[in-house]
């Protein structure tokens, strides 16, 4: 079968450095002393903890419940005891802490009761809820909750793309997964195909992974499905970007501000397909993933790692060389430098790249932009990186957005080719986070404005209602007083007392007070003091949300 392939613009060809870590099969990791499982490992709401310190948990037990629909659950990676639920340093460039569940393994590694999901008889919504509660998120690096993507687009979805391109240098976790566990990837992809009602599945793999391509083709053949095709694509960074891979495989160019689903294409990582098959066929939630350990180590390789495993525990298995000075999560192009060596492996960790000054020398000093335009030629998103750079540098964020700052996928091609060594992506990240901060501020200001205006309106309304009530009451009492003078003093006295509280009705008050006085005198003369209620308890005041201050003497 011949498949016509397309090209995306730009891209670069850095040294792949993949051979060293693909020599050995995927290896297990001995249980660390402690697992630190951050609750917030994905895009969306932070799950709220379901366990308490001191509690025993089983492997696969849900310890964090999804917060709303745009979120995902978190599970205990092994059986053991919860030591604490406390902020721990995250695998994040900021070095900030986030709430984590610290588990001390008991060594038994005992699973909860799991059962396969009868997914063929379940409604799509039920399957999506199950996947959310199984903690399935995109394992390509974006960690977007997968259940949200497993919905056919408005116009239907015709093509499901399985992303096995793995274009970033050093990283080989998807490669090894495809070589060793192709059958389960195929089964996972078929489940997703059924959920999306897609006609075909295209598995895109870069042609520098011949074993993976052969294994996946064999797996498709063994499965017997005819709607799935394994396609070798030219090796060119960043062919593994979702929009770039879709372009190469289908020729569809997803324009600015749209999603591929609008054009009937949905894209998932191979690791995600594998995890979905695990969740559906075995009822096992996502608690581990394949992680590449590469860079400045003796024996680069791939490991099946439980989430929460400290990175130094993992990297030690590969033999960290002495001159190591940093851990990078991800690859050399898009990875993030970790704030500490013992940060936990999370769902987004596809690679722990061990770095040293010799392997990744500090970049040459930044020089002035000479407007050569190399960055624009290299940009796979068809942006104008130099324009973005100038506007970001000048903190002219509105202008940067006009040049589609948010279409930048931070692949690093522009910085890679820049002859002036400008850290372009750093500028874009800075500009993006400033824009987000401003948007948050603006949203907060809008809410505050709305609430302030509503409060003012409410106070006005209460004042008005009070005045109306009083006016009605005075009118009524006046009518009563004129029809039967002296008979209604019990009613008139409190009315007079509460009118005294209202400044705007001074004239009315004076009149009412005079009347009340006259009535009281009349009553006194008649010697019939019918229970005169105390003036401090006006019953005519409308209920306000804030009770009167005299209530505070507790």
């Amino acid at each position: 079968m011949l498949q016509k392939l397309f090209k995306f613009n730009g891209g670069v060809k850095p040294a792949t450095n993949k051979a060293a870590s693909t020599r050995d099969p995927i290896k297990p990791v001995p249980m660390p002393r402690q697992l630190v499982v951050p609750l917030h490992q994905h895009v969306g709401g932070t799950p709220h903890p379901l366990v308490e310190a001191g509690e025993q948990v089983l492997k696969g037990q849900r310890i964090g419940a999804a917060d709303g629909n745009v979120s995902s659950a978190i599970h205990a990676p092994t059986s053991g005891r919860v030591l604490a639920i406390e902020p721990r340093v995250m695998a994040h460039s900021s070095g900030l802490s986030s709430l984590s569940v610290v588990i001390e393994p008991d060594g038994e590694d005992r699973w909860i009761d799991t059962a396969p999901m009868p997914w063929r008889s379940m409604s799509p919504d039920e399957i999506r809820d199950e996947l959310r509660d199984a903690g399935i998120v995109g394992l390509g690096g974006a960690v977007f909750p997968s259940h949200l993507k497993l919905k056919p687009g408005n116009e239907g979805t015709h093509t499901l793309v399985i992303n096995g391109a793995e274009c970033e240098p050093f990283i080989t976790c998807d490669d090894l997964l495809m070589r060793e566990r192709g059958d389960q990837i195929v089964r996972g992809a078929l489940i997703m195909q059924a959920m999306l009602k897609a006609q075909r599945v295209l598995v895109g793999i870069e042609d520098n992974k011949p074993e993976a391509i052969a294994q996946m083709q064999a797996a498709v053949q063994r499965n017997g499905t005819t709607s799935m095709q394994v396609i070798a694509i030219p090796t060119r960074y960043p062919a593994g970007g979702a929009k770039q891979l879709i372009r190469v495989l289908t020729g569809i160019e997803v324009p600015h501000g749209r999603r591929s689903t609008d054009y009937g294409v949905q894209c998932f990582n191979t690791g995600t397909a594998y995890a979905i098959a695990d969740a559906v066929e075995k009822g096992r939630p996502l608690i581990s993933r394949i992680v590449t350990v590469a860079g400045n180590v003796e024996r680069p390789g791939n490991y099946e790692v439980l989430f929460g495993t400290p990175m130094d525990h993992l990297a030690a298995l590969a033999g960290i060389k002495a001159d190591t000075d940093r851990f990078i999560m991800g690859g050399p192009m898009m990875g993030f430098r970790m704030p500490a060596y013992d940060v936990p492996v999370v769902k987004a960790t596809n690679c722990v790249l061990v770095g040293s000054e010799a392997l990744f020398p500090a970049p040459a000093p930044e020089m002035a932009c000479i407007r050569c335009g190399e960055c624009a030629r290299a940009c796979p998103a068809d942006l104008q990186p130099f324009e973005l750079y100038w506007h970001s540098r000048a903190k002219n964020f509105g202008k940067a957005q006009e040049y589609h700052l948010f279409d930048c996928i931070e692949c690093g091609c522009c910085a890679y080719v820049c002859p002036s060594h400008i850290p372009l992506v750093d500028y874009y990240r800075f500009a993006k986070s400033e824009v987000w901060a401003r948007e948050r501020q603006k949203d907060a200001a809008d809410v505050a404005r709305e609430r302030f205006e509503f409060r003012n309106e409410r106070i006005e309304r209460e004042k008005r209602e009070k005045a109306e009530k009083l006016a009605a009451k005075t009118a009524a009492s006046r009518a009563a007083a004129s029809s039967a003078p002296g008979a209604e003093q019990g009613e008139a006295a409190p009315a007079a007392a509460s009118t005294a509280a209202d400044d705007s009705k001074k004239a009315l008050i004076a009149a009412a007070m005079a009347r009340a006085k006259a009535q009281r005198d009349a009553a006194d003369q008649a010697a019939a003091p019918v229970a005169t209620p105390p003036a401090s308890a006006p019953d005519s005041a409308p209920a306000t949300t804030a009770p009167a201050p005299q209530d505070r003497s507790i």
Binding site: H40, M90, H92, S93, S94, L96, S98, P365, E366, K395, P423, D426, Y427, R429, F430, K432, S433, E434, W436, A437, R440, Q441, A444, A445, D446, V447, A448, R449, R451, F452, E453, F454, R455, N456, T545, A546, P547, P549, D551, R552, I554
Partner: protein
């Protein structure tokens, strides 16, 4: 001579009529400038500017009754934006109105609170929940950090806590070129 006068008079009538019609037809309700200024102000509703809220301050600026440098929560950036919008000179923040502080939220010490509701009445954005003789608490996503609740509290149980950075609100720093120390 007469025809010229007639032409001019007729023109005046026609143009006058058109203008009069436009004034009625395209009448703008409210002052759009006030809304533009209000959109720049931080909506803290703290009253540090000397006006009872951001909208009244915006109205005063638009009316030329107030300077643009009276809003401490808006800070220097806010003043620059106002200066840009209004074509006025930038002025540093007026120290009489207060100083720029990091964003904070009010926190009620639950052990000391006596449930007097005074803070609830003071809060300009209804961000405090509670009832008479019940413990009060601040709904912190809604708190603007205006500090108006601190003064009325008879037992001084409200403190301002700075809002820390979280992984979600963390910002990338402006790329700076490290200067190497001379060897």
């Amino acid at each position: 001579m007469l025809s010229a006068l007639l032409v001019m008079a007729a023109l005046a009538v026609v143009i006058g009529g058109a203008l009069g019609y436009a004034a009625v037809r395209f009448r703008v309700e409210g002052d759009p400038l006030v809304d533009k200024i209000d959109a720049i102000l931080p909506q803290t509703q703290c009253g540090q500017c000397g006006f009872p809220g951001c909208k009244p301050y915006a109205t005063a600026i638009a009316g030329g009754e107030a300077e643009i440098n009276q809003c401490p929560p808006g800070g220097e950036e806010g003043i620059r934006k106002l200066a840009d919008l209004l074509g006025r000179e930038f002025k540093p923040l007026n120290a009489e109105n207060g100083v720029e502080k990091p964003k904070s939220v009010a926190v009620i010490d639950e052990n000391t609170c006596i449930g007097c509701t005074l803070c609830i009445q003071a809060c300009p954005v209804d961000a405090i929940a509670g009832a008479a003789k019940q413990m009060h608490t601040v709904v912190d996503p809604l708190c603007t950090g205006c500090e108006l609740c601190i003064a009325p509290c008879p037992v001084d149980c409200i403190t301002m806590e700075p809002v820390g950075e979280t992984v979600d609100t963390w910002k990338w720093h402006y790329p700076v070129i490290p200067i190497k120390t001379a060897a």
